[in-house]
């Protein structure tokens, strides 16, 4: 009993943090109908600034904290005005999501450059000695945390309910156009909500700082849990955010205490998946019902690029030749050859994402999870049961398809970004399983001794052989997919993306097409994961974890979604450049975040799409086969 109470206290404290983060998500969602995945990064940024002020300038922690909050406010105002608000005005919801992934990445990358990869902690606000209440010990910092949570929650509730600003926020959420007509500066309100949410996150980070340790990429984890808490509570509802946070905190702490700390995340994520399927709008749902026959996503901002089949084949030949051209280099230095193979494998997985995102318009944040399933299934079968690589690979694909079907059927009933949320939960769940199931997967230190891929006695044991294997697979996949995307199947996917309702009115089974695209995406991810394992002879959770999922999204957007070939540019840029120019490696994360944001905002068809558009402008007489026009938002 005593122990249970002690655990509950721990859960409560954890829940406060999740709740504060969820509050930020809800606030932004209410005003802008967008989800800001950079939320957790502001939290860590504030804590890191505070820590530097403490250590470098010897400030007392409270003063340093104020500086941290001020810095967070300034940074978020800058990023909000330069990136988030302009994005809202012209990007569709799915790209907006990716844009905030870019913000998260850039913040983490910049923190890596400034603060390095060591971990930090803060001094407690009022001494180290925990106080003891009826035999239960509570760190004083915990009391601070609870106090801050109560103050912020009530202040925000008051703000929303009682003040003019709160009413203006609500008006923006319900009908931005009308709000604009009523003289409410919608853009200003959007920026304000973004900054306010970042500040709340920053305060949370500083208050939790003394009882935890943090480093440049801890923000990603805070983002996940804050987001999950917001979804559990019902995104958009401030009360729900706090309750969702507390539920999540208690659930993870109890799971950690009574089962295993490795599975506490798995439990939280299962909770999320159950809630998503059982009560998709969360425990406290909010938000007005919309008219079904009115388009809910009028912002489409993308050039229309079409390649004829012959040109598609030509291009894949060029791409293959380009890769082959890279060979002589690669042969000289083993490292580069290896990077070329990695590029090709990741390209495979990102093509899958392109089918899902670029054509069907759905976002998956769990492509790494499918790589993990494919990778671990094939590797474990090969290492422990001597199953031939090909069979193992196929088994991985089959398992991935089963997962994709379950997730898809659950999530596709729902509108909007639910697939994104469900795949995020799925990816994190797979992460925690690959780490947790040590006997099977080798745990955090990875699985060793994976054999090379072999086919009928021929062993692909050198980088060069692997390269030829993967290049051949790529040519087949690209040919098949180009044919599919150019025909009725791809057309229906595009229609589903552009206007699901109008597509249904023409007889398209929208759910089936979305699930079909998701299955293709999952199968390619799984295949890439298997090849990864066979190539490295080693597989660890971080090679196929959620950060990789995010990175692949960046590669897709940078290369150009909806182009099938474009992802190669994105993958090559992010994988090869840091290998060729070693000094760049440190800036890799920040650079990919920056590129992602720039492309999302200014090159909506990515590097590849823009290049094609540009080339075709130069030869207008060929316009018959290929159409290039900018569509107006």
């Amino acid at each position: 009993m005593h122990q249970a109470i002690q655990i509950a206290v721990g859960g409560l404290l954890q829940g406060c943090i999740f709740g504060l983060l969820a509050l930020g998500f809800s606030l932004i969602y209410r005003v802008t109908a967008a989800v800001n995945l950079a939320q957790g990064a502001f939290c860590i940024f504030a804590a890191l600034v505070t820590s530097s002020c403490e250590q470098a300038f010897g400030m007392p922690v409270m003063i340093a904290g104020l500086v941290g909050v001020a810095a967070t406010a300034a940074l978020s105002a800058l990023l909000g005005a330069a990136v988030f608000v302009p994005g809202l005005a012209r990007l569709p919801g799915s790209t907006m999501f990716i844009l905030t992934v870019g913000l998260l990445t850039i913040l983490q990358g910049a923190s890596l450059v400034v603060w390095g990869s060591q971990s930090y902690t803060l001094t407690t606000f009022s001494g180290e000695r925990p106080i003891s209440l009826l035999g239960i010990s509570i760190p004083t910092q915990g009391l601070w945390l609870i106090g801050v949570t109560i103050v912020i929650t009530s202040a925000l509730a008051l703000l929303l309910a009682r003040t003019r600003m709160g009413r203006a926020f609500r008006a923006c959420a319900e009908n931005p156009l009308a709000a604009n007509l009523m003289g409410i500066g919608v853009r200003r309100m959007q920026l304000l909500s973004f900054v306010l949410a970042a500040v709340i996150g920053g305060i949370a980070g500083i208050v939790i700082g003394p009882i935890t340790s943090f480093q440049f990429d801890t923000g990603g984890m805070y983002t996940m849990f804050g987001f999950i808490a917001a979804v559990i509570g019902g995104i958009g509802s401030p009360l729900g955010a706090v309750v969702g946070g507390l539920c999540l905190g208690l659930a993870t702490q109890f799971a950690a205490a009574y089962m295993s700390s490795l599975f506490s995340n798995a439990l939280a994520l299962s909770l999320l998946l159950v809630i998503l399927i059982w009560r998709p709008s969360g425990i406290f749902s909010s938000g007005p019902a919309r008219r079904q026959d009115v388009r809910d996503e009028p912002r489409i901002h993308r050039a229309v690029i079409r390649l004829g089949l012959r040109r598609g084949l030509l291009l894949s030949a060029v791409a293959a030749a380009g890769l082959l051209g890279a060979l002589p280099w690669g042969l000289q230095s083993g490292g580069l050859m290896s990077s070329v193979v990695i590029t090709a494998i990741l390209f495979l997985a990102v093509i899958g994402l392109d089918v899902l995102m670029g054509f069907a318009g759905q976002v998956s944040l769990g492509q790494g999870g499918f790589m993990a399933i494919g990778g671990y299934t094939a590797s474990i079968l090969a290492v422990r049961y001597d199953v031939p690589p090909l069979v193992g690979t196929l088994a991985g694909i089959a398992l991935s398809l089963v997962c994709a079907l379950i997730l898809g059927i659950g999530a596709m009933r729902l509108r909007g970004l639910y697939l994104a949320i469900a795949t995020l939960a799925f990816g994190l769940l797979v992460d925690s399983l690959t780490v947790g199931l040590e006997n099977l997967t080798g745990g955090p230190s990875g699985l060793v001794g994976i054999p090379s891929f072999s086919l009928g006695g021929f062993v692909f044991d050198t980088p060069l052989r692997n390269f030829y294997l993967i290049a051949a697979i790529l040519v087949v996949i690209l040919t098949v997919l180009t044919a599919g995307m150019r025909g009725g199947f791809g057309r229906a996917l595009l229609a589903v993306r552009a206007d699901p309702l109008a597509a249904a009115a023409l007889g398209v089974d929208v759910r089936r097409y979305k699930i079909g695209a998701f299955c293709i995406c999952a199968a390619l991810g799984s295949l890439a994961g298997s090849l990864y394992g066979f190539y490295f002879h080693f597989l660890s959770p971080e090679m196929v974890g959620t950060p990789i999922s995010f990175q692949m999204l960046a590669m897709l957007v940078i290369g150009g979604e909806g182009t099938l070939f474009g992802p190669l540019c994105g993958v090559a840029l992010i994988t090869l450049l840091p290998t060729i120019f070693q000094p760049l490696a440190q800036y890799k994360t920040m650079g990919s975040g920056l590129l992602l944001i720039l492309c999302a905002l200014y090159l909506p068809s990515g590097i590849f799409g823009t290049a094609i558009t540009w080339l075709m402008r130069m030869r207008p007489e060929r316009g018959g086969v290929l159409a290039v026009r900018r569509s107006t938002p």
Binding site: A483, G487, R491, A505, G516, R629, S631
Partner: protein
């Protein structure tokens, strides 16, 4: 063979729909004979579009039955209804942005394309033939509509009027058995309206049953075989154009109000 007039193309019985306490459709009942043009008229907000949404099941009705060529479609998903050949065009054109004009039209053929996706991917000859036929038919329709020159443009670049026309062509591409058009003449000038009237006649003569929402009375009187008048969700009158022209309730409810 049954005489086509025995089973109505569309038979609506006692449809009701409320939106949060407001009755938008009140006990609507009428039927549409195959091969005819029925016009649905009524003042703004009468519930015409809502009725279309109920027929195509984009909104579920509160009660009532809907039959399409004798088949009950009240509980059917929107895409299943479309697959049967009941196709609609929307009041504000819902072309697919991000797709070319030709692709938009080809999309109309979706319900007719039978070769499964995996065979398209494997470039089977059946799939290639099907795709070629669809494209040829799409180009033909675009040619008739005078949009052939625009076929490779992004559909969202077309002016509003052309987008509405495009949507009608897209619907025709589906070889509909019953076609629902929501204010096709909105925004057209007099000559274009005359062309539209001729086009509607041609569509009907091609064996397609039409149900058209329209405000332009001269168009309605010229082309309709039957007129259904809706006012504030209630069916005020059903009859031939000449009956409707002289119906006092209609003049009061609709024409009278619009003038005054």
């Amino acid at each position: 063979m049954n005489a086509p007039s025995e089973v109505p193309a569309l038979d609506i019985r006692g449809i009701n729909k409320t939106f949060g306490g407001v009755q938008a459709i009140f006990d609507a009942s009428f039927s549409v004979a195959p091969g005819t043009v029925t016009a649905l008229i009524g003042p703004n907000g009468a519930g015409k579009t809502t009725l279309f949404n109920l027929i195509t099941n984009l909104l579920p009705p509160n009660s009532g039955s809907i039959q399409f060529f004798g088949q009950s479609i009240g509980q059917m998903a929107a895409e299943k209804i479309a697959a049967l050949g009941l196709i609609r065009a929307f009041q504000t054109a819902r072309i697919f942005p991000g797709m070319t004009v030709l692709e938009n039209v080809a999309m109309g053929a979706h319900r007719l394309m039978k070769v499964p996706a995996y065979r398209q991917m494997l470039l089977s000859s059946a799939a290639r033939r099907e795709e070629r036929d669809v494209r040829r038919r799409a180009e033909m329709l675009l040619d008739i509509a005078g949009l052939h020159g625009e076929r490779n443009r992004a559909a969202s670049d077309l002016p509003m009027g052309a987008q509405k026309l495009l949507e009608v062509i897209r619907a025709l591409m589906a070889a509909p058995r019953l076609l629902l058009l929501d204010e096709p003449a909105a925004g057209l000038n007099d000559t274009e309206t005359a062309e539209l009237a001729a086009m509607l006649g041609a569509i009907r003569d091609g064996g397609v049953t039409l149900l058209v929402v329209e405000h332009n009375m001269s168009l309605v009187m010229g082309v309709a075989d039957q007129i259904v008048v809706l006012d504030a969700g209630r069916t005020v009158a059903i009859g031939t154009p000449s009956e409707i022209r002289n119906n006092r309730a209609v003049i009061e409810a609709y024409i009278g109000r619009e003038d005054g």
